[in-house]
């Protein structure tokens, strides 16, 4: 593996080196060849001159005419390259010749090769096949330095090419090194990112656990209080000697505490986004007006409540209960911010273009208090679930989170501005609905269960809840047939038992309420069906398929209106 990497790493430089070596070898061979050719040429030239001289001096040598021989020899002096020309007789004695300065004067010596500065040739002088002497010619060879300069261009080319190759291979190697470094850095980064993601996941988990802890603390405290009230009231009710007035008071206390508990769970569910909103087209001014009666007592005597409502605000489509809860949460927060009293102002107006308006218009509801304000560093946190500045057990931290959940779920926005020791303004922007306000008939029409008395098929797997529901229906004047699950309900229906309405829990072992409703609708299409659930995940996921839903915990009022509506629809 490492061997392979090394091989790959060194392949390119090795290739470049090989190419350079090849080039060098080619260059050297060219130079060598050129040098050999040059020597050969010099030698050939010298030889032909020697041969000419040999032929010329034959007779002179033969007849011992030194002067004539010398004349012939001297003719070669014209050529500057000839350093020496000598004619020897048959016995090797010098007969004629000349030696220029700087040439060796030895009789016959051989020289040649790369570094030689002279080339010598010896040619026999022949007469009719008989050797009668020897001619020796010594020619100068260009000095090595001058010859080398002729090869400079080749050397330069080889050098340049080698340089280019070296630079290229170096650059390539460097690039490869950089690439490797980058790849490693990338790997490191990837690892760090994964590590970070893991850490964040762990952090989130920890935060969730922390939140759960806070929630548990807050909810347990609130519930404990409520349970204490209910338990105490119930025990008081058990006392035999109790005036009617007191009995009524304790009962009312239990009802109120239960309602608070219900609203607490409702808030938790809303936070968990599991409670579907039941939007209605609403005049917010009216909704606020209805609440004022209960808000003033909530704020207490130290705090004055004023309203500044625009004469006519556009209708919005929101869940009225959730809106009331949201406003209540804001008011409660305002109250808690003013332990020494102050002012709370509720304003309403139609949104202008200056507001961060929602497309299609909005209604602005703002609540201003003159409280302690929220430190800027905490301002961004107030909508976080379970964030609370109150001590553990005093608040759930769900109040403003519910406001946030409600407005965003309703397609609106929520804003908060605060200045320390001056107060806080919390603003809800709710989108305007295109639908008209419904007529107020429902509000005024007295609804009594007795008017719409009928028989109810009650399907509920929980015994206590079933008992309660049966008691309420009976109180409302309806007859009740109980079934503990879907199969039982279908059996009752198949047996032909008469009933005018089905009231079924959604979450049951075996057949769900929705499935049951579907089956029943096939058997008795005209019988209205009402579904009920405390945990509406199923409904949220699948929808109620058009069946009205009553949310647990329900009271007598909720049941009565739902039943009346359903029966009225069925009769229509």
């Amino acid at each position: 593996m490492t061997g392979g990497v090394i091989t790959k790493r060194w392949r390119l430089p090795a290739l470049a080196l090989l190419t350079v070596l090849l080039l060098l070898a080619a260059g050297l061979s060219i130079i060598f060849q050129g040098e050999r050719d040059y020597h050969e040429r010099r030698e050939n030239a010298a030889r032909s001159q020697a041969e000419i001289l040999a032929a010329s001096v034959t007779a002179a040598l033969d007849f011992g005419d030194r002067a004539t021989a010398q004349e012939y020899v001297n003719a070669l002096k014209v050529s500057q390259q000839i350093l020496a020309a000598r004619v020897y007789d048959a016995r090797g004695r010098l007969f004629a010749g000349f030696v220029r300065n700087g040439a060796s004067s030895g009789p016959v010596s051989t020289a040649g090769g790369f570094g030689a500065s002279v080339a010598q040739v010896n040619v026999p002088v022949m007469r009719s096949g008989t050797r009668i002497g020897t001619v020796n010619i010594t020619t100068a060879i260009e000095p090595v330095s001058r010859r080398v300069s002729r090869y400079a261009i080749i050397a330069l080319l080889v050098g340049m090419t080698s340089l280019v190759l070296a630079v290229m291979s170096y650059a390539q190697t460097a690039l490869r090194r950089v690439n490797r470094t980058l790849a490693k850095a990338n790997d490191d980064l990837q690892f760090q990112m994964e590590e970070r993601a893991r850490t964040e996941e762990q952090l989130r988990e920890a935060q969730k656990m922390q939140s759960l802890g806070k929630l548990t603390g807050g909810v347990a405290h609130d519930f404990n209080n409520l349970l204490a009230v209910i338990q105490g009231s119930a025990e008081l009710l058990q006392r035999p000697t109790l005036s009617e007035e007191r009995r009524m008071r304790y009962t009312q206390t239990i009802i109120d505490a239960s309602a608070q508990g219900a609203s607490l769970t409702a808030q938790m569910l809303a936070f968990a986004r599991r409670q579907p909103l039941k939007p209605e087209v609403l005049d917010l001014n009216k909704a606020i007006g209805k609440m004022l009666v209960m808000l003033q007592p909530l704020l207490g005597a130290n705090i004055s409540l004023t309203t500044d409502l625009e004469a006519r605000v556009d209708p919005v489509e929101v869940d009225p209960g959730q809106f009331e809860t949201a406003l209540l949460n804001i008011i409660v927060n305002a109250r808690d911010a003013m332990p020494d009293g102050g002012n709370v102002t509720i304003r309403s107006r139609n949104a202008t273009s200056e507001d961060t308006a929602l497309s299609g218009g909005a209604v602005v509801i703002s609540v201003e208090d003159s409280g302690t304000g929220i430190p800027p560093d905490q301002l961004a946190l107030v909508f976080e679930p379970f964030f609370t500045t109150k001590t553990v057990g005093k608040g759930t931290g769900l109040g403003l989170s519910q406001v946030y959940g409600f407005t965003t779920q309703s397609g609106g926005k929520v804003q908060i501005e605060s200045e320390l020791e001056k107060g806080t303004v919390l603003t809800m922007l709710l989108p305007v609905s295109g639908r008209p306000l419904p007529a107020d008939k429902d509000d005024h029409r007295p609804v009594t269960g007795r008017k719409a008395a009928g028989r109810v098929l009650l399907v509920e797997d929980n015994e206590e809840v079933g008992d309660l529901a049966a008691a309420i229906f009976e109180e409302l004047g309806h007859g009740v047939v109980r079934a503990r699950n879907g199969v039982e309900a279908l059996k009752i229906a198949d047996e032909g038992a008469p009933f005018d309405l089905v009231f079924s829990d959604v979450v049951m072992p075996g057949m769900t309420g929705l499935e049951l409703a579907g089956e029943l609708q096939q058997r008795r299409p005209n019988i209205p069906i009402i579904l009920t659930t405390g945990y509406s995940d199923r409904i949220t996921m699948a929808g109620s398929e058009g069946f009205p839903v009553v949310h647990k915990p329900y009271g007598m009022q909720a049941l009565q209106s739902a039943v009346d509506k359903a029966l009225a629809t069925a009769r229509r």
């Binding site: 010329s56 034959t58 007779a59 002179a60 033969d62 007849f63 011992g64 007469r127 009719s128 008989t130």
Partner: protein, 201 residues
């Protein structure tokens, strides 16, 4: 003044001596060497002369060197030609009394005899393809090659015109060694003139 006059006198004397001919003035010891050299020369001339093919005969026919009449060389000549070959031809020596039979010769040294002086001999063999050799020491008549001694050295004159009459051609290298050359240039000039005249008519 005196000295320069003396030098001039000496110069004149030297000049006179040179003109009067060295052989006579040369010492007795030099003479055998001179003869030897001339014998060697005689043996070497063949290499620089081209005979007409008809004169040479067969390829292995000998090349005949003749001494006509007086022979100043003696055994020197035998020594000189010993083993000498000219191309495919062996060199042989033949001594003749006179010009009789000289037609077989390729080279003839005209020594002269009681009946024929060198001049007569030359006249007799004139026109034959024979390289006639004369010696200044034996008379003023000049054959194709005429030995002379100059500055104590054996030299020779060449009469190329005479050679042309014998239909011989003499190598230019040999000509270059000659003291003087009587060229055949005149003839060629005449020939050229004749050619020109023929072209004009």
């Amino acid at each position: 003044m005196e000295r320069s006059k003396l030098r001039m006198l000496l110069h004149c004397l030297g000049l006179l001596l040179a003109i009067s001919g060295l052989p006579e003035s040369a010492g007795a010891e030099t003479r055998p060497l001179e003869t030897q050299v001339k014998a060697a020369f005689l043996a070497k001339f063949a290499a620089y002369v081209t005979w007409p093919p008809s004169a040479l005969g067969a390829a292995d026919a000998p090349l005949v060197l003749c001494v006509l009449g007086y022979d100043p060389f003696g055994p020197n000549l035998e020594a000189a030609i010993a083993g000498q070959r000219v191309g495919s031809h062996a060199l042989v020596l033949r001594r003749l009394d006179g010009t009789a039979g000289a037609a077989t010769c390729h080279i003839a040294f005209l020594g002269g005899s009681a009946r024929q002086n060198p001049a007569t001999m030359l006249a007799t063999i004139k026109g034959l393809p024979v390289l006639s050799v004369t010696d200044a020491g034996l008379g003023p008549v000049r054959g194709i090659v005429h030995f002379a001694v100059k500055d104590g050295r054996v030299r020779f004159h060449i009469d190329d015109m005479l050679a042309a009459q014998g239909n011989l051609s003499i190598n230019a290298r040999l000509l270059s060694l000659a003291l003087t050359v009587r060229t055949r240039a005149k003839l060629s000039l005449l020939a050229m003139a004749a050619v020109a005249r023929r072209a004009a008519t």
